[in-house]
Every structure is written in structure tokens, then in C-alpha cells.
Subunit: 311 residues, 2 copies
């Protein structure tokens, strides 16, 4: 027993994380879904009921722990979201490390969608359409543009102004041409669509989607949430992170008869991915604890590596 | 945002905790049950399925957080149980403190039973019978003897040897006469009975219990666990920590029609306690997160107090 704790603060994890770390951690987490376990998600609240937290826990061979995510909508001085990952020692069950990871969490969520793009989208995908112009959407663009030779970004927002501002920011950050667009045009032109909204109804019509498109949807993570049109599923190959969870709180809650394939099974070679260049592939991300545990482990590893002077 | 964390290690919390702190924290937690919230308990496991953890979360006016309890039965170099309490800042949702509290957890659990004794047992209770001779039972005796003028302790164990050894230890620690006894004799002679076992069937017969007895049962905290005879409930006043939970995983899972009163309601003056000197009172403890959050807060407070030189 020691009197110190292995701890990575929010500012430190924000400085350690990048797309490559998050993508590698996502790959590790998705591969671990085949043999790992995830446990029921707790949705709790503070005395002020609008202030909410979630507990996501899981385990795999060398991972066991909990992610505590919080959302305090009234925060003004500090971010509304925070994330604390608690790792236990798989050998003893004792506290191993605590990692604050609010910024890293945005990379982690984007990395899952990018991993799906990397696994399922056509190799020659050049047009990325992002629906949503919020905080998370920025990270989605950053992650996806690293795994495909994206040449332009179309931005669909609820208002032209926010979409334009977002497009300007994308160009500034990635050097890629980016422009606001109507949903119909942008979806039809896309090789890859990423949705990152809090929508509770479909963001586009199924028949706007061209053959060969890949769609990664990250917004649906609770009852009633929905970004995709159910009619699309008849002519698409369906994938997700955790099938049971996706049918409970993800996109496929709206299509209970859908049988999405776990992305981890595709990565492991146990299931097929894209069948042809004309196939439409859909990936639904609802999030799971192994992503957080793998992320925290990767952050710890990188810190150790840097402290040892390797970078 | 800071780069440090408010952290109390296992060795530090073990040095800070005592019966008084735990009892005061228990009182605070039980009072908070009236307005506070507790959320579904998660039972998870590591890759080795025997290695288990539980997540208990809750909130009250000035408390919000999670207790991660772990049980790694194969541990030999370190204790099999560990406990980590994560407090969030009620104002922002951000990580506020991490407290390791395995030893303190034993005080916390005993304090709940002692609080029930203090609230429900006859003031002149002099004979304490403890059923169970494990690690937790020691803390139960330590806590109960502080709230009533106990003059002797009767010890019921599965073997005469362990009961005798436990009795010797009780005398060494408390100065009270203590002796092993048969369950029937010991229950009949008791003013207060504390059960601290992992039993899955009643430890004694209902008709062995004399009028005026108080019973605190801490063992039942999961499906199938049971320490008390259901027949007792017809002639006893029933209390517990959380009625819904007690009927799900506590003693009252075996008596679904029982309507135990929350001890917090008695403490708050919203419900009656012991009705007469002849009444039999039963308290079932299944454990709840507010106990852990209040305990962690009390440990932090005491540390600050000591650092400021007040003790």
C-alpha cells in the first residue's frame, strides 16, 4: 500500500491525448469486446436533478474499472462535461489509477467513429459530410480525416451561421476546403457521413444516401435519441459497438429487428465488413467502458514513455 | 483545474477512522436518505469472473459520488476487499476527491448497525450476542459496545474454537467478559443480537428471541442471503436502511409483504421507533452509497482538522 496515487489531471490528459493515441486505444477496446464484459450503465443525478452523471464499467483481460461521466448543464466557469476514469488493478482489485479525461473523452468518442470509417468506408472516400456543429463534431472531423484521404468537408448545421463558422474552423485546423451545405445535398455527395447531434428524429431521408456511402452515427446514446432514418437499414449493412446496447439506447432502439454486427468482430476477422464498393455501411456508436479503460491506460503509457524521455 | 488530487490512501484512512467518526457519518447518511437518492447497484467482475466489484452511487444535498467495492477472493499479499470512494463536486460535477477506505468500510458497516442499536435497542441493554466470528464481526462488537452499557458479550460461531478465539479477542479489545455460546442460549439471553455472517438460511429460531430484544442484521446484501427467521417478523417491529433495497437484496427479500420502516425516518422523527420495552425490533442493513459518501467526507474533514492542528 502506498500513500500516493497514480493520477492524470484534466490538463495533463488534454496535453497527452491526440488522434493517434485515441484511435489505437479504440482499436484495442473494440477488439476486447469479443471477450471482455460491460456492465449495466447507471444514470444518476445530483440533488439538483438536471445535474447528471453516468457510470460505465467493464473488464477485459488486462482492464477493469469505471468511467464516471458528468454533465452539469449550468456550469459557466468550468466545462459542463467531465469524465473521470478509475482503473483497478486486475491482479488485486485495488485502486490503480485515476485519470481525468474530459477533453480526451471527445477524442475517444471520435476515434470510435473514425475506427468504423477506417474499417468500413471505401478506401477512396474523399468527401466527408458532418452533421452537427457542436463541440464533439470538431473532434469527429479531426479523427476521420486521419483515416481516409478526405479532400473536402461539407457541414450541415441547424443554422447557416454556425455551419459557416464551423466550416471556417475546419479549414483552419485541417487545411481542407469546407463549406456549409443543405442536408440533402451534403448527404448525397458524401462518401462518409458523420452525425454528431443530440437529435431525437432522423437528420436526413434514407433515399438521399448514395450507394457506397459509410455513415458513423454517434449521437444516440439514450432512450428517444435518433439521428438515422430506419428506412435506410433495409439497404445497408449494419454495424455498431455493442449490439445489445445499441438496440437499447442506440440507433437500433428504433429498429428492434435489426441485427447489427459488432465492429470488434469485424476487426477480429470474425465477421465481414463492407461487401462491395456500392454497399452502404452504417455504424452506430453508443459508447462503452472498455473504450475509457483503454484510453486511460494509453494515456498512462504515453506519460510513462515521455517521462522516460522517449519522446 | 489543478494538477493535484485530493486523495486519502488506505493507510491514511485506516489511521483517521474510528467508531465515533463512523457513527456520526452513519447518522448523517441515514438522515440524508429522506431527501437523497441512491441509484441501481452494479455488480461487475474482472476477466476472472470470481473477482468482483460493485458500484454504489448516490447523492444528497452536499454529496454526490460513487463507492467502488472490490472482492478478489484469491488475494494473498493484500486484503481481498478494497473500497474506493470517488466524490464529485456537487457544484460542478468535477472530480473532488478519492478516498481509499477498506478498513474504514468495516467501521462504516458496523456503524450502521450500531446506529440502529442506538436508535432502537432498550437503553438498558447489557448483553450483546454476536453471531459470526469473521473480520466484520469484530467491528460490529466495537461499534455496538459504544452505544449501549454492554456488560457481557456472547459469541456464536460455527466452531467452538473460532468462537473462543473471537471471545478472547473481544475481551482483550474491550475489557468486557466474552464467552462462546450456543445459538439458542445466546439469542435467548441477548438484549442486542448482531448477525454478521454470509449465511443463506436463518441463524436461529424465531421463538428463541425474548421480548425486548433488538436485532441488527448486516449479512444479507444479495439474492439468496438470509440470517433471520421470517417467522420472527410477525411479532417484531421492522426497520431497515432502504426499504426497496432491503426487499430486493436484504433480509426482507424473504418476506415480500413486510413493510420495514426506514431508520432515517425514525432518526428524523417522521416515524416511530421502539414502541415498548417488550417490543422486538429488527434492523436490516444492506448498505447504501450515502454511507460511503458521508464517510469519505468525514475522513476528509478530520484530516483537514488535524492538519490545522486541532487534534
Amino acid at each position: 500500500m502506498t500513500d500516493s496515487i497514480t493520477f492524470i489531471s484534466e490538463s495533463e490528459s488534454a496535453a497527452l491525448v491526440d488522434e493517434d493515441l485515441a484511435l489505437a486505444a479504440a482499436r484495442e477496446a473494440f477488439l476486447a469486446t469479443a471477450t471482455g464484459s460491460t456492465f449495466p450503465v447507471v444514470i444518476g443525478h445530483a440533488a439538483v436533478p438536471d445535474n447528471r452523471f453516468t457510470l460505465k464499467s467493464g473488464s477485459a483481460d488486462d482492464l477493469v474499472g469505471v468511467k464516471i461521466g458528468s454533465y452539469w448543464p449550468g456550469n459557466t466557469e468550468v466545462p459542463r462535461h467531465s469524465s473521470t476514469i478509475v482503473l483497478l488493478d486486475p491482479a488485486t482489485g485495488r485502486l490503480a489509477a485515476v485519470v481525468e479525461a474530459a477533453t480526451a473523452n471527445a477524442y475517444r468518442t471520435a476515434a470510435a467513429d473514425a475506427l468504423a470509417v477506417d474499417t468500413l468506408a471505401r478506401p477512396d472516400s474523399r468527401t466527408l459530410t458532418v452533421i452537427g456543429t457542436g463541440h464533439q463534431a470538431r473532434y469527429e472531423v479531426g479523427a476521420v480525416t486521419r483515416v481516409r484521404p478526405i479532400e473536402r468537408v461539407l457541414v450541415v448545421g441547424r443554422s447557416p451561421d454556425t455551419a459557416r463558422a464551423f466550416a471556417t474552423e475546419v479549414t483552419a485546423r485541417t487545411g481542407l476546403p469546407a463549406e456549409p451545405a443543405e442536408a440533402r445535398t451534403a448527404v448525397a455527395a458524401a462518401d462518409v457521413v458523420v452525425t454528431a447531434t443530440t437529435a431525437r428524429q432522423p437528420l436526413f431521408d434514407a433515399d438521399w444516401v448514395a450507394p457506397g456511402t459509410h455513415i458513423s452515427a454517434m449521437g444516440a446514446d439514450g432512450p428517444g435519441k435518433q439521428e438515422l432514418p430506419v428506412a435506410l437499414y433495409d439497404r445497408a449493412s449494419l454495424f455498431c459497438d455493442l449490439p445489445d446496447q445499441s438496440r437499447t439506447i442506440g440507433e437500433f432502439q428504433h429498429a428492434p429487428s435489426a441485427a447489427p454486427v459488432a465492429l470488434g468482430a469485424v476487426l477480429a476477422g470474425d465477421a465481414g465488413g463492407r461487401g462491395s464498393a456500392e454497399a452502404i455501411t452504417v455504424f452506430d456508436s453508443s459508447g462503452f467502458a472498455l473504450q475509457d479503460l483503454a484510453l486511460a491506460t494509453a494515456l498512462l503509457r504515453r506519460r510513462t514513455h515521455r517521462q522516460e524521455g522517449h519522446e
